[in-house]
């Protein structure tokens, strides 16, 4: 690999990039599933914001949200990973993954708050900014990962750099334990990234 001519190396990199892009394109959902997912999400939001459950209200909401979802179906759903039957996957997301995430994050949020209290009283801090890698490369997945890292104990996301297969996250760590990228990533991300990979790219 080291003695390879330069033009061949560039060609191989280009082919790798195109294979990644092709993989990305074929693994997104088809159009009608995107429209239906957006429609259901918008209809639930309509029901919560307009409090009444009269049938005229529900009918108007269904028509309007269907029109909106025909226009904007690509905005939220293009980052969802395509795997298996869509109905089973939706049920698994609603009844397994989302309660799991809320349960984990509630306890980690309380733990991080108590840790801030401990640091504020004892002042045993050792801050620094470290860089970790991430396997996610969609907008939504990377955003949720960065937000979750901010809410877990001792870490604060400063910036993310998104790229196909080379996403990076810069994290301000209040008590730096290690400077090694792999170990720091394992400590900071925990099980969150594996959880997010079930749903998003």
């Amino acid at each position: 690999m080291s003695r390879m001519p330069l033009y061949l190396k560039e060609r191989i990199e280009e082919i790798n990039q195109r294979a990644l892009l092709f993989n990305y394109e074929t693994n997104t959902l088809p159009k009608w599933e995107k429209v239906i997912i957006t429609w259901i999400a918008l209809a639930i939001f309509w029901m919560i914001v307009s409090v009444s459950i009269h049938w005229q209200n529900i009918l108007i909401g269904a028509v309007v949200t269907f029109l909106v979802s025909l226009l904007m179906y690509d905005m939220f759903t293009s980052d969802i990973r395509r795997k298996g039957n869509v109905a089973i996957k939706a049920l698994r997301i609603i009844f397994l993954y989302v309660p799991q995430y809320i349960f984990i994050m509630a306890f980690r949020l309380v733990e991080s708050n108590l840790k801030v209290l401990k640091h504020a009283i004892l002042m045993d801090i050792n801050p620094g900014i470290v860089k970790i890698d991430s396997d996610l490369h969609s907008h939504t997945g990377l955003t949720i990962l960065a937000n979750s890292i901010t809410l877990t104990p001792g870490t604060l996301t400063i910036d993310t750099v998104r790229g196909l297969d080379e996403s990076k996250i810069y994290v301000h760590w209040i008590d730096v334990e290690t400077l090694d990228r792999e170990k720091a990533g394992a400590i900071i991300k925990g099980g969150l990234e594996d959880w997010l990979k079930n749903i998003f790219w």
């Binding site: 504020a120 809410l151 810069y170």
Partner: protein, 104 residues
């Protein structure tokens, strides 16, 4: 009874956040205190309000929507403030700064 528990937890977390903002040395460590403790405190106070209010069910759900929005928006605001502070040249105190070394 459980609403008093949530209210007490929220108040304690808010006070600890204020203590952290007063005692920590620079912008980034203060952001730790303000972001996490505001999120946890406001969410638990909102849950207590949702339990104790005598409104119909659909209105109680609105409080939970509010808690969800706070949990989504607060980390993004912290990211914006930290990145803006770093871009305007405030050096973080501490052992290492990879973000400045990478040329941002």
């Amino acid at each position: 009874m459980i609403e008093y528990l949530f209210l007490l937890l929220g108040t304690v977390l808010m006070i600890s956040g204020g203590l952290g903002v007063l005692r920590f040395p620079d912008v980034y460590t203060r952001l730790h205190a303000s972001t996490k403790c505001d999120t946890g405190g406001a969410m638990s106070i909102l849950i207590a309000v949702a339990i104790v209010s005598e409104a119909p069910m659909l209105i109680k759900v609105k409080f939970l929507i509010l808690a969800f929005l706070i949990a989504m928006i607060n980390p993004m605001v912290a990211h914006a403030i930290a990145r803006g502070a770093h871009k305007s040249g405030i050096k973080p105190k501490g052992v290492i700064d990879v973000y400045a070394r990478d040329g941002f």
